[in-house]
Subunit: 154 residues, 2 copies
DNA sequence: ATAGATGCAAAGGCTTTGCACGAAG
DNA sequence: CTTCGTGCAAAGCCTTTGCATCTAT
């Protein structure tokens, strides 16, 4: 067999990660996973992914991007969130829970973790007889530092 | 002038609330505001509002419901949130900030406020040079109490 | 009288789906 | 060779908008 499609550039993600999740190893899947692993932006929308793939002349359909993102989320490779604005945002699932603070100036996202906040959430839920399944804290804010990387060049 | 439309049932909200916001006093607006003030559910989607108005034979178009909800939010009468599920949810704006815990069994929403959580959010934002504009904590959970009102009858 | 509100239907934005073709195991 | 993935176009869902008509002030 003369492998054409089995060629794997150094930048490509490890096929094992896909196989171990019962997913066939395909070019679109490798490219998408790769994007999340190497892109400077941790948080990407389906549109972002689609555009980045177009930029590198990978001919992947938008529908496929949506399907792959969904599958990756179900496989636990990615995590999905919704910020204000309606679009779903995906990020690599690295196992560690964190919350988000979103700059309203430029849309960039910073992550943070505060043990006390987590603790109190558990307390609140417990007091009310709930078992937490998932929780998301989104802070929408403006950066006030003049040299803040979030502030668009002025 | 023989006023037909100026009739105001006792259940209707106070027109002043609308006027003070520069909004003309109309039947759809009074009915919507009234719904939020007297409905057993604090949290309603546009569709919810539309259906409830249909139920009471108020002929209000869905587009109008959307417009009124948007205006009320801008006027500070209502607050909008998005829970998982894509639909926007509105509630009366009573000035006090609170977070939400959503039962995954039945979709009901409970509100809570925890001073410590609020404090830590301010701290986190400040440390990173942000001014908080808005923040939302959504906990998605399951109720574990057998007699919990959230649990659908079993 | 006049600015503003409403209803309807059409359009928009994001996401999902049906189907025929193509690739992976 | 069989199962699954892909691309395209069409459809879905929630929400917004254009336009002619109607209403509050």
């Amino acid at each position: 067999m003369i492998s054409g499609t089995h060629f794997q550039p150094s930048s490509m993600s490890d096929p094992k990660e896909l196989r171990s999740q019962g997913l066939k190893v395909t070019v679109p899947r490798l490219k998408v996973l790769d994007l999340f692993k190497h892109s400077p932006d941790r948080h990407l929308t389906a549109e972002d992914v689609y555009r980045k793939l177009l930029d590198e002349h990978s001919d992947v359909g938008l529908a496929t991007v949506y399907r792959v993102l969904t599958q990756f989320e179900q496989a636990g490779l990615l995590q999905r969130t919704h910020f204000e604005g309606g679009k779903a945002v995906y990020e690599l699932n690295e196992g560690t829970h964190h919350d988000h603070i979103v700059c309203q100036q430029c849309g960039r996202v910073e992550e943070f973790y505060d043990a006390e906040i987590e603790k109190r959430q558990l307390k609140v839920a417990k007091e009310r007889g709930f078992t937490i399944r998932e929780h998301q804290l989104h802070i929408y804010a403006d950066c006030i530092k003049p040299k803040c990387p979030h502030r668009p060049k002025d």
